[in-house]
Amino acid sequence: MSREAILGRVRAALSADRSAESSPLLSYPRTGTLNTEERLQMLEERLHEYDARVFHCPEQALAQRIFEVLSAAGRLRIIHPAALPTSWHAAQLDWTPDSPGLSYAEIEAFDGVLTGATAAVTESGSIVLQHGPAEGRRALTLLPDYHLCVIFENQIVETLPECFDRLKANAAAPTTFISGPSATADIEMTRIKGVHGPRFLDVILVTRPSNFPKLTFQ
């Protein structure tokens, strides 16, 4: 069987090098140096570079802000993860919770999708989804042409190592890093935005008073 053959070849080749047993000592900066305000500002700059639009609001005004952004973008039929807090739904829009029965073609037909996020990384301008209750299954943030993503201030970290510290507790979950809308540079290295993923990405950065209770999902 090839499994044993391959592992046998690997072991035979490596046997001479086993004496030096030491796991590598890795040394590189893991934590950032920016304060909260700078972190927010740099994330916004990065997102702009990716052609994403960025909006702000305090937590108590979130539903109103979501409504403003979606209606201004002309996105009225919105799908969302079933467990998204109902307090985010502005009454004037058409909200559909995701359900296992929805086909990919049906998901694709919505005007847009609204989700939360697991984390955001300032340095690379990345939004990270571990597809928990507020983010939904992967197809949800892939098929609709428009994605509105809500990110809370305390979800924003500066560096990738800080981000992985947050992800590792749930490392086996499907995880998606989104760094701007889909793009290609395959023809003459000209960057073209919007190939197969959502072509439009909007982000709302939510600031939360320090004494505000932490938002949890059921």
Binding site: M1, S2, R3, A5, I6, L7, R9, V10, R11, A13, L14, A16, D17, P24, L25, L26, S27, Y28, P29, R30, R46, P100, Y104, E108, V121, E123, S124, G125, H131, R138, A139, L142, L160, P161, F164, L167, K168, A171, A172, A173, P174, T175, T176, F177, S179, G180, P181, S182, A183, T184, A185, D186, I187, E188, M189, T190, I192, V195, H196, G197
Partner: protein
């Protein structure tokens, strides 16, 4: 169009292939433009990282650790991935991998498959074998689609169609997608590809991908991409097969925090590429329910024993060494006669495929070292090139034709001359006499006869100076 096979078993030697490709001025312009653009973007983003060298060192250490205990990490990956509902297959060579994949697709009753760009599947020539087994293959990466529709071969590790310009792509799409009025600007071409593929994503239920990283600790696969075609394939399919070389494993989930900083910067000059997907086996209610990984050896285990060759397997396929290489930038990728081109191809191909078929590749380099300098996992490519050159020489040492070859005799003579300073100076004086008829009006030697003519075929040669340092020194003493 110049089409040269990238099958190392059939490809012509590098100098022959290169001589032909260098005449394709359009190709040279396309390659020069593309590599210039990526290099400038990369340089700017590397410059802003004050910890770049620390990240290179860490990345090299992570990859070296994975290879030093490759058996352990492969078994750990298998255990974790299987526990999460996936299936792991082991393939000793390309043929076995193709049979395993055909078997999985057969069991899934799939006669169509969508593909994410993967160098490993190109290495095993998977598409052709699937097509001959009656499976229709759709490449979904834009560059791979360009190659597939044009029956062309990859010429770069991360931008495999960079040898094509917009006009060439327009003509191809217009013909193959039946779009006679297609414009030739990149947005229109990208839109055409989007519409062409959209329907396939929603309809085709089996997908094939490679893997950027396999994570032993968690049993996860990581795919790094730009267009979202990867997410489409790995999310919407029912059956998903990842084909990965055994060297793709890394020990820990946290290792990604280093490699995902260096890979995008080195590969495309981005702080982060648009999409990364990481997943572990099967997730109920989200994505494929029939998940397979094919672990491919195909010659890789032969590189493990010596550290000098093992470092070749540290490669994370960023392509930075191609963009910076003064040889690749002239010839493009096809001259290397393999899907792996550029400096990394020049060391990987001769080692993966029997050396006799790729003997010329270790010489396809000026040994300038630019590839080593840009490598995000610090593979000392020049060191491996020199080692492989010595292997080529050793291999041929006892051939009768080699014993009597002009090069061999010339080298022996040179060795004798260099052993003794009087002999050396005598040789210099003789050379001054013999070279005279060959010195041109501009003071350079442009053409020498015999074996020495191979040197002047590609370069001019400076004549021996009228006075050597030793002669000047002696004269100076005498005149004092």
């Amino acid at each position: 169009m110049t089409l040269i096979t990238v099958d190392p078993l059939k490809a012509p030697s590098f100098p022959k292939a290169a001589a032909e490709l260098l005449r394709d001025t359009q190709l040279r312009r396309n390659v020069a433009h593309a590599t210039d653009v990526i290099q400038h973007k990369r340089a700017a983003l590397v410059a802003e990282k004050s910890d770049w060298q620390a990240l290179r060192t860490a990345g090299a250490a992570i990859r070296a650790e994975a290879l030093r205990h490759l058996d352990r990490y492969l078994e750990q990956f298998e255990k974790q991935f299987t526990a999460a509902g996936g299936h792991v297959h082991w393939a000793s060579d390309a043929d076995e991998a193709r049979r395993i994949i055909a078997g999985i697709l057969h069991d899934a009753q799939a006669d169509e498959v969508i593909k994410i760009k993967s160098m490993t599947t190109a290495e095993i020539d998977l598409n052709r074998s699937l097509e001959s087994a009656g499976v229709r293959v759709y490449e979904t990466d834009l560059a791979e689609l360009i190659l597939q529709l044009g029956h062309d071969q990859p010429s770069h590790i991360i931008a495999p169609a960079l040898h094509k310009n917009r006009h060439q792509v327009r003509d191809l799409f217009a013909r193959e997608m039946h779009l006679p009025d297609l414009a030739d600007d990149p947005p229109a071409l990208t839109e055409a590809a989007r519409l062409y593929l959209r329907e396939k994503f929603l309809k085709v239920k089996a997908a094939i991908c490679g893997a950027n990283f396999l994570i032993a600790e968690t049993g996860s696969i990581c795919i790094v991409e730009s267009e979202g075609n990867g997410r489409m394939c790995l999310t919407l399919s029912d059956t998903l097969i990842s084909v990965a070389g055994i060297e793709k494993v890394i020990p820990t989930f946290a290792g990604l925090e280093v490699l995902l900083q260096t890979l995008p910067r080195a590969a495309t000059g981005e702080r982060m590429n648009p999409y990364n997907s990481i997943w572990t086996g099967v997730t109920p209610g989200d994505g494929p329910h029939n998940m397979h990984v094919v672990l491919l050896d195909n010659g890789r285990s032969n590189l493990l024993e010596k550290e000098i060759t093992r470092q070749t397997l540290q490669c994370i396929r960023c392509g930075a060494c191609l963009n910076t290489c003064p040889v690749y930038r002239q010839t493009g990728g096809h001259a290397y006669g393999s899907v792996y081109s550029g400096p990394i191809g020049a060391i990987l191909t001769p080692q993966l495929f029997a050396l006799e078929h790729a003997q010329s590749l270790p010489y396809a380099s000026s040994l300038c070292g630019a590839c080593y300098e840009v490598c995000p996992v610090k593979i000392n490519i020049p060191e491996v090139l020199v080692y492989l050159r010595s292997r080529v020489v050793d291999k041929n040492r006892n051939n009768l034709s080699s014993v009597f070859s002009q090069e061999r005799i010339g080298m022996k003579m040179m060795a004798r001359i260099f052993l003794n300073h009087e002999r050396f100076e005598k040789a210099q004086r003789m050379a001054r006499i013999f070279e005279k008829p060959f010195i041109g009006q501009d003071g350079w030697i442009h053409k020498l006869p015999g074996l020495a003519g191979q040197w002047t075929a590609a370069r001019d040669l400076a004549p021996i100076p009228a006075q050597s340092f030793r002669e000047w020194w002696r004269g100076r003493k005498a005149s004092q």
